[in-house]
């Protein structure tokens, strides 16, 4: 989230699209209710199903899954056509005025530079014209046909309301009502918030779904303000934290990136991460990248990271592909190229797409290690459970370890909520049996590995044996010790660069904040964006002061919010070019002639003059991007692409199948049903229920009782057409697998008309498996396709094709 749950109270309009907060985030959704009750805010829900969020909305618009970009670009088109644009914001705070290079084009669904064989782009034309002064060329008058605004205007013009209806199935009158309400928030005194979750991410163009809404919010001037923002509701309780800390193939903590094999040394690595400002006076905060990187290396390898060895640069593995994400991992396993796999609180047999492929992949491993509080299906992938897990154990040679770990109630530490709050919690119970904390398990494994390498030598032992492991009990690091390591420490005296007499931290002391980080090895910091979370003032994540001046919703003394305890990102954009709030009733910070101050920590240097330094300090432009240069694989603007399995051919780009830049492994394309398939005529989507949390709560007797059994949800029309009765059994199958389920026939799903064709939707909830207290069931991942988003490889769980028929009940 750019904002926080408690800030939603400040909004005028909530748009829930790509999520279902009332059911999936019920206690956060209460802030929508507060905004409706206390300020007359309106709620719009756009979803293929009439969800419980929709049931309390002011306006519900149905949409076919996988067509959000057409809808959102349709909204941008509407705002441009009706002059519902917050012009001062757009001109000053976005790259609308920037001139794009000659040669950049978009035609027939493809941007310039496409290579069909590689399914990738040469992105060299996706950039600004750079002037002789080294800065990007801008046209303040917006007259240049190649300025971003005019390119955008042209790009979205195809998404007129009639085209939106044709693609999305949303009736034009509904779309226009949504558009009119959304467009009103272009006023500087109106705010709209976007609440989204997996309904946007789990598509082959998930990143661009989110970008499309972010662009709309910029056009409306709704980023950086109270009650506005792009608010990812997120899934699990520490998804945000694990991502912040870089537990992904290509990341280092704090959104630094791992080197590739084309970057042999630190100088080469830094040469593409210098981020020189693209406009005069801009902060381009990533110019501090090297401070964050070197401090991280010092945190990892301590004294072994020296200026002479590029701060142990060689100790980091170098990538040969963009990333070894979950899908690539299972693809490699499937090819027999992997031997070992660890699952720490993750149940991929249930969570990954195309379960058949996942079982085959796990079966090829030499060893699998499960660390989990619960008895997961993945741990038992080798066990026969009839149709729910149809395997022969004697044919599976994988050695499996199932290690019991503690759960939340038996562990200390911090979790990061969707609003970026790091909140500390304390253990209250003794773990069951021999269950151990994950920190203990990781430490014990590490110490054994280190001992083996110390005694026996082996492949490049240095990064292992020289790993900084400074804990009082090396076999059982305490949460506080790790939290301090993440916060960072001065290794030598750190002084203010502007005033060397001013000491920021004495040697050995915890760092006050990331501003104290240095690139000479005098500081160590595990994750720069968290710095300040546990400093000499104490554990700021454990703060419990509920003070909230003027009921503004910031709660700045509750826990710690990254970065720098800032509660609203880009909050400089809440004020105009003179530094006055666009809306005085919605003040976040303001300029007093000398400095910025207000309710929140300013997201800018406090002395940066408002008419000189732009609010988007992480971008070298200083402004936000409507056109995102070459930073995304599938285009500098979003464009409508159909899901890989689609009930219709793409109306705006008939020759393009799926997202043209999405990676598809050999063999998987053959497992996709063709567009407008007769064999698989129905558009399926997966979803979650309010009574369950993923695959965990089926282990809880209460939840297993209130939602005991797998079902699929279909419309009355489809039920009538196929002779399916309410509560009767059905078989649902895709090109990859088949499930048997009870049919829930509802009015919540209605057929849509897309491109002149009736499209029926089949809803498939997620929560069942073959362990736990609920009845055994299949879940959607027997059916889902093995393809991910072009940029970050989140699988396309939300839009695929199936067929359905009445069936006899399961034998078991």
């Amino acid at each position: 989230m750019t904002n926080s749950w408690t800030d939603i109270r400040n909004t005028d309009l909530v748009v829930i699209m790509g999520g279902n907060a009332a059911e999936a985030h019920p206690c956060g959704f209460k802030w929508v209710t507060e905004a409706k009750a206390n300020r007359g805010a309106k709620l719009i829900v756009i979803d293929p199903r009439f969800t419980r969020s929709a049931s309390v909305s002011d306006l519900y618009a149905p949409i076919r899954q996988g067509t959000d970009i057409a809808f959102l670009l349709g909204l941008i088109n509407y705002c441009i056509q009706h002059d519902k644009v917050q012009w001062d914001y757009v001109k000053a705070f976005t790259n609308a005025t920037y001139v794009v290079k000659e040669g950049f084009t978009y035609k027939d669904g493809l941007f310039s530079g496409y290579d069909e064989a590689k399914r990738d782009y040469d992105k060299s034309t996706w950039d600004y014209d750079i002037g002789p002064d080294g800065f990007a060329v801008v046209d303040e008058t917006l007259q240049n046909p190649r300025c971003v605004w005019n390119l955008l205007k042209n790009h979205v013009s195809v998404y007129a309301p009639e085209m939106v209806e044709r693609i999305c199935g949303t009736p034009t009158d509904k779309f226009l009502k949504v558009a009119a309400m959304v467009a009103e928030t272009s006023s500087p005194t109106k705010a709209m918030t976007s609440m989204y979750a997996l309904g946007w991410t789990q598509h082959s163009k998930g990143s661009q779904n989110i970008r499309a809404m972010a662009m709309l919010q910029l056009v409306l001037g709704n980023i950086g303000i109270r009650g506005g923002g792009m608010n990812a509701l997120r899934g699990h309780s520490n998804i945000q934290g694990l991502t912040d800390l870089g537990l992904m193939s290509n990341l280092l903590p704090g959104y630094l990136t791992l080197p590739t094999q084309k970057e042999p040394d630190l100088a080469t690595y830094m040469s593409t991460r210098g981020f020189k400002p693209l406009r005069p006076n801009q902060m381009s905060y990533w110019q501090n990248y090297k401070k964050f990187f070197v401090s991280f290396q010092k945190s990892m390898w301590g004294d072994a990271a020296t200026p002479e060895n590029d701060f142990a640069y060689d100790y980091l593995p170098k990538l040969d592909v963009p990333g070894y994400d979950l899908l690539r991992a299972f693809e490699l396993m499937h090819q027999g190229k992997m031997n070992g796999y660890f699952c720490q609180g993750f149940n991929p047999l249930q969570a990954a797409p195309n379960k058949k492929k996942v079982i085959e992949s796990l079966s090829k491993l030499k060893f699998l290690v499960i660390m989990d509080p619960l008895d997961t299906e993945t741990g038992r992938f080798w066990e026969n459970h009839g149709p729910y897990n149809d395997v022969d154990p004697s044919q599976i040679q994988t050695e499996v370890y199932q290690l019991p770990s503690t759960c939340f109630a038996e562990d200390d530490g911090s979790l990061v909520n969707s609003g970026r709050w790091l909140q500390w919690h304390w253990a209250g119970g003794t773990p069951p049996g021999e269950a151990k904390r994950d920190t203990w398990i990781m430490a014990q494994l590490y110490l054994r590995l280190k001992e083996l390498y110390t005694k026996e030598g082996g492949a490049f032992p240095d990064p292992i044996v020289k790993l900084n492991w400074p804990y009082a009990d090396p076999g059982d690091p305490k949460a506080e010790e790790l939290a301090q390591e993440i916060n960072g420490r001065a290794l030598a005296k750190v002084t203010d660069t502007a005033d060397p007499t001013k000491v920021l931290a004495e040697a050995g002391k915890l760092l006050p904040a990331f501003a104290a980080l240095r690139d000479d090895g005098s500081t160590a910091c595990g994750c720069w964006i968290y710095s300040g979370c546990f400093n000499e003032n104490g554990n700021n994540m454990a703060r419990r002061d509920t003070t909230d001046p003027d009921d503004a919703g910031f709660y700045s003394k509750w826990a710690f919010s990254w970065p720098a305890n800032r509660r609203i990102l880009y909050n400089r954009a809440s004020a105009d070019l003179t530094g006055k709030p666009w809306d005085p009733s919605r003040k976040v910070i303001e300029w007093d002639g000398a400095k910025w101050s207000g309710y929140d920590v300013p997201d800018i240097v406090p002395t940066a003059k408002p008419d000189q330094v732009g609010p988007f300090i992480m971008n070298p432009e200083g402004v936000s991007r409507l056109f995102t240069r070459g930073m995304m694989r599938d285009g500098p603007f979003p464009a409508h692409y159909e899901p890989f399995e689609s009930p219709i051919v793409n109306p705006v780009a008939p020759k393009v199948r799926g997202n043209p830049a999405a990676r598809v492994f050999k063999g998987d394309m053959a497992q996709f049903a063709e567009a407008a398939s007769k064999e698989f005529p129905y558009a399926a989507t997966s979803y979650r229920l309010t009574e369950h949390f993923h695959f965990w709560t089926k282990h809880v007797i209460v939840n297993a009782v209130i939602q005991p059994e797998f079902f699929v949800e279909i419309s009355e029309q489809l039920a009538a057409e196929k002779g399916i009765t309410k509560g009767g059994w059905v078989r649902v199958w895709s090109k990859r697998g088949s499930v048997v389920a009870k049919a829930m026939v509802t009015k919540r799903i209605k057929p849509l008309t897309c491109d002149g064709k009736i499209v029926h939707i089949v809803g498939i909830p997620l929560h069942w498996g073959f362990t736990g207290a609920a009845k055994k069931g299949f879940g959607p991942n027997m059916l889902t396709p093995f393809v991910g988003d072009a940029n970050i490889e989140t699988p396309e769980y939300k839009a695929f094709l199936v067929n359905i028929e009445p069936a006899p009940g399961p034998a078991a």
Binding site: L326, G340, Q344, F346, E383, G429, Q444, L445
Partner: protein, 199 residues
């Protein structure tokens, strides 16, 4: 912690105050004693309260764990009740159908209790000690790493990567667990490394 202490003290004193004054002043001393004996004491009064957050979704509602026994005194602590934290700014004491049943997660019959191993081709898990399990896993890791570690690529560039073993990290473990995990996984040169944010 002041808030919880004062609230508990408040509950205890108000109970005693009512019995000692109102009824006593009216001359019903025996009835008062019988009545007091009949009232079950507030069942959370003798429990230890611990602040925590719900592990399910990322709203991160504040919760209070009530346990018999106090971990901080070195005692065994058995969690007997979980409820919403009324002081928490986000949820203000409320919980959803999942959070309301959290005690059932802590006490689930399918919580793992002991390390187990399933041998190749076997159709069952068998108990194994932590010592043996960890020793064996470390050995499997080292053997695989030594055999498949790539120090240089075909162009002779130093790459120091290990891709034949992978690690899928969690989604609800703490930042502190995450950082410890990061250190161990990355220092080994692993690249097949992901967490649930991806899916």
């Amino acid at each position: 912690m002041n808030v919880e202490l004062s609230r508990r003290a408040f509950l205890q004193t108000t109970g005693a105050g009512l019995a000692g004054t109102t009824l006593g002043a009216l001359g019903f001393a025996e009835i008062e004693a019988a009545h007091a004996a009949a009232i079950r004491s507030f069942k959370l009064a003798n429990t230890t309260e611990t602040r925590n957050t719900c592990p399910y979704c990322s709203v991160a509602c504040g919760i209070i764990l009530y346990s018999k026994g106090d971990l901080r005194k070195g005692e065994q602590a058995d969690i007997t009740h979980i409820e919403g934290d009324t002081d928490h700014p986000t949820n203000r004491g409320t919980l959803c159908p999942k959070g309301s049943a959290l005690l059932g997660f802590v006490k689930s019959p399918t919580r793992l209790q002991h390390p187990m191993v399933r041998k190749p081709g076997s159709d069952k898990f068998e108990p194994i000690s932590w010592e043996d399990a960890l020793g064996r896993i470390a050995r499997l890791m080292k053997d695989d790493r030594d055999k498949n570690f790539v120090a240089r690529n075909n162009d002779g560039a130093t790459v120091n990567r290990w891709i034949s073993t992978g690690f899928l990290a969690a989604s609800a473990s703490t930042n502190e667990t995450a950082f410890a995990t990061y250190k161990v996984v990355r220092s080994a040169g692993m690249l097949v490394f992901d967490n649930q944010a991806r899916v």
